[in-house]
Symmetry: C2
């Protein structure tokens, strides 16, 4: 039995980040298909939005000086030149004491200073309007480029396109978007006790749970997870499946088989490849210690713990931050909550605790869930998790903590 | 020009909920494809998980009474019967002063009371082990059904399957999941100034923005949005496109054309259908007032405001809660933040404010974004929004508010 060379989570992450600089593939997709994808290059707008001076109200476009003294008690009479049509270039030019009717969203005359809302105007007939209010410069007007400027960088490389971004991109005249191709993540569960989803439960065997949680985690990260059938603790079988997965995937994860006391087949399988290197054989994380980080044929191959919670938290702690850094995505979603429990831990290793959040007395409160690490139901119901620094000896009731939301 | 009959947001939502009781279609999908889908029926587990008594550690399974006096200074010698094999039924039965080696996850003898971790044991030879510790009942054991019980309701109808749920379902021997079929939501933008995504920008015309935000919003709700090409403000064209959309979709949304001052073509189009009824012609929401709620051929047809922000917030305020209620989904994700601004509003209508969140001095703070309602870039960047009750006259700096996250 080999003793682990345990490294800190940050060091493990640095090793992964500096060693596995993926050559990310890109693809151009239709605007709608860019939803929830990572941008592969900065997006620059070719146009001003709006590209014309636009009214934000239904009203009369006027010059500042013509309505300077207009009020309810002393309205100013203006000559109505006509109506600016939606979508059409406004051909009118204002001269002294002239106005043009402009509906919301239509173009205003080039030399108009403001638009007076209909409510403050009284149309006498097709040629004359009484205006009861003066105007500020650019009042009720959206200037050329006020929303988006030509040549402006709209989004940086690595940005994850949200639902509202689709509107911005549509407005900026963008039809196709260059995004990163989904990384393919191969998922292998090992163990004599692990059954394929289609096998009947028998003896003391259990269904493959880890593969499905990992699948969901990577789907959520917008990657392309690929579940392989679980493999028994047989070195040759593991090596063969690993070969196939390394060939078909960008990253390969193998859960189980990496804890002390179990046969250490994963490590042996990794080392059987000529072009392999093991960087880490254990991380200072609870749960998650029995984690192997290695390179096989220049691909990242990670041995994950067998317990579902541990497995999921190693992905949250190492693989997700690595993926985010690959995509140059800076997202780090957490909220601050008050911890509702006195929790003691040992110094020297980081801990991850699954928590539930509730709103109580106008405070956001979180409470750890307690369940054996081999059980899974409570974990599925929790809201997020906290990380407790390796130097700390615990968290006290009333402490403010960062909760990373699932 | 017709004056609006303005109703409160809650009343509008009640009308929609009570009138449009969709006959939701269901489908059975593979477990992995159930990720991010709504359950169409309760899921009941057919099995206990685990279905056998399982060790959570590598160690020796013992009876309580045999190790009652075991300690480091006075270890108890037990007869080692053998090893429980991973995945195999444990055939050993413990008699007086006997033990069995059990690896993590393997089955323990039926009459064992606890498992003593390897670290507290000393194996003399293949037949004898010194045990240096006593055991509690069920120590280091997961009982039959401790995670999931046979016949237990795992998830209620309407639950949105998350990444960890996939693991629970896999563990509970579930291969196929009955989920609701995606509702098809037809999206139509109207206006003489609106260009299709493939048209060249010209004159004072702008690209269709609303359709793309709506598309993203419904994708995020896991529905099936369908964008129709924008239609000019021409009654006949609107009626024809509406006919097609009502035929092809479960819900139809038409943005633009519903504000006072614009030609009220949407309303006319709706009323042109024999089997139509208009329920609401304006809601007490800012932004979002010019909203039409109607039934055409028994389908929900909503006229949305033309401004992107207003359009998006009406969907958040009316359509999303309606969809959630259809799927019996109780999710309502918000966090509590301190508002960083003195904001005044008029009584009588609800307001929705887009906000940005930041963590400052260990507090979660939010600040409204200010942008003209026809602009969109700032809106795309914000984190969420708050709702201010119609009875309130504003929010003060320092008030705690619920922020609904995008």
């Amino acid at each position: 039995m080999k003793l682990f060379d345990v490294v800190n989570v940050e060091d493990a992450l640095s090793i992964i980040k500096s060693t596995f600089i993926q050559d990310l593939k890109v693809e151009s997709v239709n605007l709608v298909d860019s939803f929830n994808r990572y941008l592969a290059k900065d997006i620059v707008s070719d146009i001003n939005v709006p590209h014309f001076r636009k009214s934000t109200v239904d009203g009369y476009a006027v010059r500042f000086e013509d309505v300077i003294s207009a009020s309810t008690s002393n309205p100013t009479k203006l000559k109505l030149l006509g109506e600016s049509q939606m979508g059409q270039v406004c051909k009118f030019d204002l001269d002294e004491d002239e106005c043009v009717y402009v509906p919301t969203g239509a173009m205003i005359p080039l030399n108009a200073h403001g638009v007076i809302m209909m409510e403050y105007c009284d149309k006498l007939n097709d040629k004359e309007v009484y205006v009861q209010k003066n105007t500020l410069f650019n009042e009720n007007i959206v200037e050329v480029g006020e929303d988006i400027k030509e040549d402006e960088i709209l989004y940086k490389k690595g940005h994850l396109i949200n639902e509202r971004d689709l509107g911005v991109l549509a407005g900026a005249n963008i039809k196709d978007v260059l995004v990163y191709k989904d990384l393919v993540v191969g998922i292998i569960s090992t163990g004599d006790e692990i059954l394929n989803i289609n096998e009947e439960i028998n003896d003391a065997k259990i269904k493959d749970i880890n593969a499905y949680i990992l699948y969901g985690q990577f789907k959520k990260m917008n990657l392309n997870p690929k579940i392989y059938p679980p493999v028994k603790d047989n070195l040759e079988d593991i090596i063969n499946l690993m070969k196939q997965a390394i060939n078909e995937c960008d990253i390969v994860l193998i859960s189980g088989g990496s804890s002390v006391g179990k046969k250490d087949e994963t490590l042996k399988a990794i080392e059987s490849f000529k072009n392999s290197k093991v960087f880490v054989e254990g991380i200072a994380l609870k749960p998650g210690k029995p984690t192997i980080i290695s390179s096989v044929e220049n691909k990242l191959v990670v041995g994950l713990p067998g317990h579902p919670l541990s497995c999921a938290f190693v992905v949250e702690s190492l693989i997700k931050p690595y993926i985010n850094s690959l995509f140059e995505c800076k997202e780090d979603k957490y909220i601050i909550c008050e911890f509702e429990y006195n929790y003691h831990k040992s110094k020297g290793r980081e801990e991850v605790l699954a928590v539930n959040i509730k709103n109580e007395n106008n405070k956001v409160i979180c409470m750890p869930i307690f369940s054996k690490s081999s059980t899974i139901k409570q974990f599925a119901k929790c809201d997020g998790y906290i990380r407790i620094n390796r130097e700390l000896e615990g968290v006290n009731k009333g402490d403010l903590v960062k909760v990373y939301l699932f």
